[in-house]
């Protein structure tokens, strides 16, 4: 089979690589904040905010993957959307390929749209019901001239096939597909543009394991081929472990732990991370799980607990945790954690 993608890649390579910036991280996020107003006074001025993302920082190199895990509602999707500037942000700074895009307007963002893509968590609402699959995947390919017009259809079919979508799906409409098929349509749409960064928000959660494996292998292959960087949000820790180079754990809008994948899995430090890992279901009915089910209510992000936000549910909570916000410390090389248990650890405070 002629490998269209590889061919195409050679054509676009010079413009994308921008050799000079090869060492610039593709994405730098500094102290990102996004607050949603939840209550306003009589004059419509917000009086209370929900801190969906509160002071998150990380750096992502080209061709690398950072996995983002954390409790439902902790701000992962909001963070992903903020990075793409799909809504305005409250504070912080976002650098894409060294360029500060924090203050960019819609039209200034336009040239970046092709270079950064998102695979949405909810495929159902992100597909236009009036376009057929070929059009959905091919629309932006046409707009951005990814391939010459004559090769357009063939290219779309090839991408579809790589995502496990058979070519007879081409003329069908989104409502005619199963949940997992729709998710693959979204993935195909994103990778068809050959972007440099993809925010993957639960990209494989609706897929059965065999297709999931196929898609993960595909994402990894594309990464190698085109040097794409991924921000990979997922609840499935085994998938995250497989695809990521680095892992960040979020809790109530904060990044509580971050480090190279092997360190995080071999030596989870934060009590929340430890609880998270103990709850991974085991695909063997003979094994009885020793789960550490988190007790206590999940606190409200609009009224988070004082001190360490996890202290209401932490087994190791100490007096200091209730009043003082723990700062992020480098406990092992490259392995950061924000927890008072590690105050005596040698490393230097990060912030």
């Amino acid at each position: 089979m002629s490998n269209q993608v590889e061919e195409m890649q050679n054509e676009v390579a010079p413009s994308v690589a921008e050799q000079a910036t090869a060492n610039t991280p593709i994405l730098e996020v500094h102290n990102l904040k996004k607050y949603f107003p939840v209550e306003s006074n009589f004059f419509g001025k917000p009086t209370r905010y929900l801190r969906a993302v509160d002071d998150v920082s990380f750096t992502l190199q080209r061709g690398k993957t950072i996995g983002i895990v954390g409790e439902s509602g902790c701000g992962k999707t909001t963070m992903g959307r903020s990075i793409l500037k799909l809504h305005d942000i409250t504070g912080g700074q976002i650098l894409f390929d060294g360029e500060d895009i924090t203050k960019y307007t819609r039209s200034q963002m336009r040239p970046f749209r092709k270079r950064m893509q998102i695979i949405f968590q909810d495929p159902y609402s992100s597909l236009s019901p009036r376009l057929n699959i070929g059009e959905i995947i091919g629309e932006a390919v046409k707009v951005h001239n990814i391939v010459p017009a004559s090769k357009h259809k063939e290219y779309v079919r090839e991408i579809m096939q790589k995502c496990g979508l058979q070519s007879h799906f081409y003329d069908r409409y989104p409502h005619e597909f199963s949940g997992g098929q729709r998710q693959r349509i979204c993935i195909a749409r994103a990778i068809a543009l050959q972007p440099e960064l993809i925010i993957c928000d639960e990209p494989v959660s609706a897929l059965d394991v065999s297709i999931q494996a196929q898609i993960i292998n595909l994402l990894k292959d594309m990464q190698k081929e085109m040097n794409i960087a991924y921000v990979f949000i997922s609840h499935d820790l085994s998938v995250v472990e497989h695809i990521s180079d680095e892992i960040a754990v979020m809790y109530l809008g904060n990044m509580v732990e971050k480090g190279p994948k092997t360190n995080i899995f071999a030596n989870p430090l934060h009590p929340y991370t430890q609880a998270l890992f103990s709850a991974i279901p085991n695909p063997d009915p003979r094994v009885k799980m020793h789960r550490q089910i988190l007790r206590g209510d999940i606190p409200s992000p609009s009224n988070p607990p004082s001190g360490c936000k996890f202290h209401t549910r932490c087994e190791k909570c100490m007096e200091i945790c209730k009043t003082q916000v723990p700062v992020s410390r480098e406990v092992e090389p490259e392995h950061f954690v924000a927890c008072h248990l590690y105050n005596d650890a040698k490393g230097n405070a990060d912030e």
């Binding site: 509602g73 070519s167 409502h175 199963s178 949940g179 065999s210 999931q212 085994s238 279901p281 695909p283």
Partner: protein
Amino acid sequence: MAENKHVHRISAKELRATAKQNIKITKRYEKLKKRKYIPESEYVTEMKDSNNVLEIENLHTYFFTDVGTVKAVNSVSFNIPQGATVGIVGESGCGKSVTSLSVMGLVQGPTGQVVDGEIRFKSEVLKTDEKGKYIPVYELDENGEKIVLSEKINKRTGEKIVTYKQKQDETGGYIFEKESKVYNLVRAPRSELAKIRGREIAMIFQEPMTSLNPVFTIGQQLDEVYLLHNPGVSKEGAKARTYDMLKLVGIIPENVYTRYPHELSGGMRQRVVIAMALMCNPRLIIGDEPTTALDVTIQAQILELLRDIKTKINGSIMLITHDLGVIAEMADFVVVMYAGRVIETGTAMEIFCNPLHPYTIGLQKSKPVVNQNKERLYSIPGNVPNPIEMPTHCYFKDRCDRACEKCSGEYPAYVQVSPTHTVACYLYQDQKKEGADV
């Protein structure tokens, strides 16, 4: 590309012809369903085994599209025993959701139609008197007498109207007499289905936005479900119930009650939908990927909750998920589907420790496992056949690494390898006891 050769390009003329044909077919089905009066004899039946709550037999659900008929569910049979959890796994697009939508009577018409088969459900319907009114259950005092609430005289007719104290449940819902009836959900009229849906069978949809209305707040929508199925409940009673259910799924009610669906995270929406499904203590819960949008700690909490509710009301669960870990933990029985058909059934132990069908074996090999460093994940090569042109031989043949000559013959019959374990594959044909019912 090699693939293109197989793709049968359809001419405009053919398209028009199929479209016309489809309209004719679907009109016939729609007409049958829309009849004003459907006699009970058409849809009240008996269970094959009275221990089951749900029996699906030979179900066929097709979509009549312009490019051809998609046989999404093509002869599916399995049972859900009372108090058991049945897990359904299978490749994306194999018809799991369509099977559950068929049970709920929610297949998207007019293109989608259940064309054959029976879905029998043991329903506990509210009994009606000859006037079509529900018959109340009254509270009795220690002498076994009804308790009089008030007595009134109708001024015009002089008739005495006595109201007795009706039994109420803890939220204030009035209790009426019930009777047990078995419905064939495929033939039951829409009005009957509407009474069963949400009250006796509740579904947690794969995409939460399908069951949430974007223009109403979470509170309004949850209250509504409860009010609808529980005559007599006050607004406050419904709200109290909503609060309880939200707490059960790990959400602080005050945070979401007055908010709109788009203001919640994906996992919160999912949990709201779970709360909505559990609202009326359904006897059968159909969960279509209920926990995939949730992180593992909340997933654990929800699974525990489902188990609790199940034991409390001796309910049953039909659990569709591709997370084998969840199946291993929750299911008593497992049904494996492939391309619209059931290919293997068995107890969870049998499917996990002794998978037989090559697809089931491949599925287990694909699962990434934590702390097992592999560069590439195993994935079953090839694709599912085009649902419009299904082959007559085993649907898995083109992807099967153990296919033999026999496999090109007709579709393999079910082989019963143990009282609970059946598989449709030629490899086990020698283990006799063929043609067993699933």
